[in-house]
Amino acid sequence: MIDASDIRVVVVDDEPDIRQLLQIQLGYADGFQVVGMAAEGAEAVQVIGETAPDAVVMDLLMPGVNGFDCITVLRQEFPDIGVVAYTGVAGEFVRNEMERRGVEVVLKSGDVRPLTDAILRSVPSRRVSRD
């Protein structure tokens, strides 16, 4: 079984309350650690470069550089980092765009389990190396 205690996560969301919530929820969840946070895409790329996380939880609709564009950059510059799109609304457009980028979409919810499951699925290289 994967020991998820090493999974280091960067949270990107323009809502301070969501950033705080995820920091607390992932902190209490077994095996996750939030190592950085950003409020939009450009800041996210910088934080991710500095912290080298295993996975990124990415909001999509943000001022500045939005999540769609940021994920495109991450796929090019940090292809080994897992990405999960964490969004308030996920219609056909969002799902198609994320499928094209190979990114799982999780709807924001007070239940953190779907998100932690998706984070684990987003880092298959770590899963293989530790199984």
Binding site: L21, P63, N66, F68, G88
Partner: protein, 217 residues
């Protein structure tokens, strides 16, 4: 805006409401789950603050939604009176910077309606445009036309077309805007209620020009 556009805008409404409700609902449930599982959490005070803040935000969103139906069902009543449009806009403006009243004018309308219309226009101009915003009123026969010149970025055609539609918050691709996008919709209803009309046009050089026509005093 034709019927096909209207159906599309109405569909958007559900997305906008869903998105705006999602953050506070997620936060309230998430924090409550954390507190329930960890009643002695060291961050208890912070969590409670955040819970309260998001509960209030939910309440404000519901209030904003109900305000639309409230405006439709409880329009300002009472006699019309002469209202100074420049004064009303100056009261609505959030600070003392960036509003130029080049020429004020008098309308014959219910003060409460005019104040709400101009508050919505001010809020829109501050949120989407640049300063200074210039007001100029002119008398044209039996009506007074107030022109609100609000410079800003070049607007996509749809922003002008849908500006008065409910739940439209400007469509810069997927960049999120705060609020539900109901201000100008309510303003247009109130303008009609006062025997006038409200419309917007793209501004040459970028931004938007809003026109408010009301019976002249």
């Amino acid at each position: 805006v034709d019927e096909q556009d209207r159906a599309w805008v109405e569909q958007r409404a559900f997305n906008v409401i869903g998105h705006e409700l999602r953050t506070p609902v997620t936060t309230v449930r998430g924090l409550a789950e954390v507190l329930a599982a960890n009643p002695d959490s060291a961050e208890r005070a912070d969590l409670t603050d955040s819970l309260l803040r998001n509960a209030r935000r939910l309440e404000a969103l519901v209030d904003e939604l109900l305000a639309v139906s409230g405006v439709m069902t409880a329009l300002p009543a009472g006699p019309a009176e002469p209202v100074d449009l420049g004064e009303s806009m100056t009261r609505a403006w959030p600070d003392d910077k960036g509003l130029v009243v080049a020429q004020s004018g008098l309308a014959l309308a219910r003060r409460q309606s005019v104040d709400r219309i101009l508050a919505a226009i001010a809020e829109n101009a501050v949120a989407y445009g640049e300063r200074p915003v210039t007001l100029a009123a002119r008398r044209a026969g039996t009506v007074t036309v107030l022109v609100i010149d609000s410079p800003g970025a070049e607007l996509p055609g749809e922003d002008v077309k849908f500006a008065l539609e409910p739940f439209w918050r400007g469509e810069r691709a997927v960049t999120r805007r705060p609020g539900l996008g109901l201000g100008l919709t309510i303003a247009e209803v109130l303008a009609h209620h006062e025997g006038g009309r409200l419309w917007v046009e793209a501004r040459e050089g970028g931004g938007m020009v809003t026109y408010l026509e009301l019976p002249a005093a």
